[in-house]
């Protein structure tokens, strides 16, 4: 369902970014990059003291002509950004939430690996396969 999935670290550099179809990768990268501003805005809007109560799921960040961009932030300020095809109107909010939840779970699994240094690019095959399963449905 997703066309592009990206995991951004706290310092706003990408830990993992993958998109299909692959020929438009640069466009998706740019979209993710611009969405970071929106994410930051949403985070700061919630207030500093409310970090605990802050909802992890940010919802639709911004829509474009062809795509919608959704965001999700973890408590450690790691951001998940997902770009979804606008033509895919059947996608509901709950589904997006569940997809982010799966992403978050896989991310924690990656974190649990002692050989993973936080800040490295994510090269876990399990994570890859999970993301693929999310994206394959589009094709």
């Amino acid at each position: 369902m997703a066309v592009c999935v990206a995991v951004i670290a706290k310092e706003n550099y990408p830990l993992y970014i993958r998109s299909i179809p692959t020929e438009n990768e640069l466009k998706f990268h740019y979209m993710v990059h611009t969405s970071l501003d929106v994410v930051d805005e949403k985070i700061s809007a919630m207030g500093k003291a409310l970090v605990d109560q802050r909802e992890l799921y940010l919802g639709l960040l911004y829509p474009t002509e062809d795509y919608k961009v959704y965001g999700y932030v973890t408590n450690s300020k790691v951001k998940f950004v997902m770009v979804v095809d606008s033509s895919n109107t059947a996608l509901r909010d709950n589904e997006i939430r569940s997809m982010f939840r799966k992403l978050h779970n896989s991310y924690t699994d990656v974190m649990c690996n002692p050989f993973y240094n936080p800040g490295d690019r994510i090269q876990s095959r399990a994570f890859d396969s999970m993301v693929t399963s999310m994206m394959v449905q589009v094709c």
Binding site: E11, D40, V110, N113, F115, S124
Partner: protein
């Protein structure tokens, strides 16, 4: 010998072949003769007839066939001479059949003599192919398990391929064998292959040899079950010796195309090793190893970080950042496989799943609990070491596998084993170098070693007394009319210590090499009697439990000793054991009671010493924990500083 052989071949001395043998031999002869272009020697083997001018098998295919039997070249030469082919200059049916029988005898570990073929022998086995075609060569009853392993011993000889085709076309003997035989044995067998490349260089060779006995053991267990009607002691022994003889010739082979699952099965030996390593990192086997500890440990394997990361991903099934024992075994196994050149699988193979591992090897957990019960602080290595010694002793003494046979025949042998084990332990304790805990052993051991009677019980340090008791318990369970209490058995071998001389011989052999002993100890797992493994679990599973975990490098040495042993061990042990066994039987019961009280005292002193050791180690542990906490705090402070210093990217 040759004269007799000539006489046997040429004159009217009948070569008794069973029906299966006749069929097999005639087929083989037909193949060899047919390959030569001559007419097949059909009909029943006419061993009694001299066959000048009759059909003869060409030397080429015959030589290939003999080579396929995996016997050493000299043995094959001997066989060729004995069967009279050299004398008459060709392989007639008579010579061929005699040669086949001799091959069977040699594969069974019997000496290559004409007399050997007079007795009932299993069919000779030829390493033709990777398939189960091999199995068809042998008797169905015998071929359970063990024989199946043989085909899996892949050697890359071209002749095999040729024979393969022929075999497949002609072999119809016991196709039903393969399904029975292959599943149980193939996994452990195949396991050998990955290790052959050597997790460390040394390890490679040993691994090959080691798995063999273990595999032999497993199939032995199985045959005992399914083939209860099968010939009793002999086939297992043959199988075991077969495996040993095969292991000599075995070559490392990477090809796992036929059995994609096999490299991912963990043999008993490996399992033991992994468990020991686990214990070295985390004394409590039912607990888990934290991520950082495991990371440090696995980093030593010199694999790249991404690969290690991937292996972790595969093996940490619950993704909790910690490895339980089965997860650890799976991870270790993957690392070993990777180091041996196996590509990492896409997913965790079913044989490495934690549930599978837990189900397949429940013993280690039980063993662990047993260990824990009587030795809280004892590092595991002490125990394994001792057990290894015990194993070594038994290997030396009794090369024959036949667990059932020996179990039934003598408690004495077990007791002898145990006495030998004790002796070994004393020696090994002196030599062992691995752990700090060792000094304790060593201090105890020399003291105990001096006097045979009282000290030895104290000797088998912490684990031993209880282990032995466990053994005894188990061996009792394993159905022998033993004296009811543990101690009597324990005492028995003390008595036998005094009695039996052969042990001294063994003792003298041991100083030759500590690692060798420890390695052979693992070989000892072949002998369920050995106990430890059986002690912990039902006899069916060959758990070793104690592989010296400090000794991966020395594993290859095991292999070298193995080939030397098979032939000799088969015969020597039976003879040596028979003597002392008879002598010992009389005494044990009377002296048992006297020994029991002494042993109790010895055990109590051992317990006290263990507790002291425990206290010391606990103190040490707490101090180290303190240091660890401090270091952690320092690390956190440093990380905080790093965070602050790291440049914040601005969009």
């Amino acid at each position: 010998m040759e004269a007799a052989a000539g006489g046997g071949c040429g004159s009217g001395q009948p070569l008794l072949l069973s029906e299966g043998e006749q069929q097999c031999y005639s087929e083989l002869f037909a193949r060899c003769a047919g390959a030569a272009g001559g007419g097949p020697g059909s009909g029943p083997p006419e061993a009694a007839r001299a066959v000048p001018g009759a059909v003869s098998a060409a030397a080429g295919p015959v030589a290939d066939l003999f080579r396929a039997s995996q016997l050493p070249a000299e043995t094959l030469h001997q066989i060729t001479e004995l069967c009279g082919a050299k004398r008459v200059g060709y392989f007639g049916p008579t010579q061929f059949y005699i040669a086949l029988k001799l091959i069977a005898a040699a594969q069974s570990g019997l000496p290559v003599r004409i007399e050997s073929i007079k007795c009932e022998l299993p069919l000779p086995r030829f390493m033709m192919s990777k398939t189960d075609a091999e199995i068809r060569f042998g008797n169905p009853a015998e071929l359970h398990g063990t024989k199946v392993q043989i085909p899996y011993l892949i050697t890359e000889k071209n002749t095999f391929k040729r024979m393969d085709d022929e075999d497949k076309q002609q072999e119809t003997q016991s196709p039903t064998m393969s399904p029975l035989a292959s599943p149980p044995s193939s996994p452990p067998h195949y396991q050998r292959v990955p290790l052959s490349h050597g997790y460390s260089k040394l390890r490679s060779s040993t691994e090959q040899m080691h798995p063999a006995p273990y595999e032999a053991r497993q199939p032995l267990v199985q045959p005992e079950g399914p083939s209860s009607g099968a010939p009793g002691a002999k086939p297992p022994r043959h199988q075991a010796s077969l495996i040993r003889s095969f292991s000599v010739e075995r070559e490392p082979h990477d090809n796992n195309s036929n059995y994609p699952d096999e490299p991912w099965r963990i043999t008993e030996e490996q399992r033991e090793y992994y468990v020991n390593q686990f214990r070295s990192l985390q004394p409590d086997p039912s607990s888990f190893i934290s991520g950082s500890v495991a990371k440090n440990f696995f980093t030593k394997s010199k694999l790249s970080i991404p690969e290690l990361s991937y292996i972790w991903e595969l093996s940490d099934a619950d993704c909790d950042g910690a490895l339980t024992l089965p997860e650890f075994c799976a991870a270790f196994h993957l690392i070993v496989a990777r180091k041996n050149g196996y590509p990492l699988p896409e997913g965790l193979p079913p044989t490495l799943q934690p549930e599978y591992l837990q189900a397949a090897f429940p013993k280690p957990k039980r063993e662990c609990s047993l260990f824990d019960s009587y030795s809280e602080s004892m590092p595991a290595n002490q125990q394994p070491r001792e057990l290894n010694r015990m194993e070594k002793l038994s290997i030396k003494d009794m090369a024959d596998f036949p667990v059932p046979a020996q179990d039934v025949t003598s408690d004495d042998k077990q007791e002898q084993n145990k006495t030998r084990l004790e002796q070994n332990k004393t020696r090994l304790a002196l030599k062992s170098t691995a752990d700090e805990a060792l000094p304790k052993d060593m201090s105890e051991d020399p003291a105990t070693k001096s006097g045979l009677l009282p000290p030895p019980p104290a000797l088998p340090p912490r684990p031993c007394p209880s282990q032995i008791s466990h053994h005894n318990v188990n061996s009792e369970r394993s159905a022998q009319p033993k004296p009811p209490t543990q101690l009597p058995n324990y005492g028995d071998f003390r008595l036998q210590k005094q009695i039996s001389k052969p042990r001294h011989r063994e003792l003298q052999e041991f100083p030759q090499g500590h690692p060798q002993q420890s390695e052979q100890a693992s070989e000892a797992e072949i002998h369920p009697q050995l106990n430890r493994a059986p002690s912990q679990a039902a006899d069916s599973s060959p758990t070793k439990k104690d592989i010296p975990y400090s000794q991966p490098p020395s594993k290859p040495i095991r292999r070298k000793f193995r080939p030397e042993n098979p032939a000799t061990e088969n015969q020597e042990p039976s003879s040596t054991v028979g003597g002392p066994a008879s002598a010992a039987t009389g005494k044990p019961h009377t002296a048992v009671q006297k020994q029991s009280s002494k042993q109790k005292k010895a055990i109590q002193t051992a317990i006290r010493k263990n507790k002291e050791a425990n206290a010391v180690l606990a103190r040490l542990n707490s101090e180290l924990q303190q240091q660890l906490k401090e270091v952690h705090q320092e690390r956190i402070a440093l990380e905080n500083q790093l965070e602050q210093l790291r440049p914040v990217t601005v969009l």
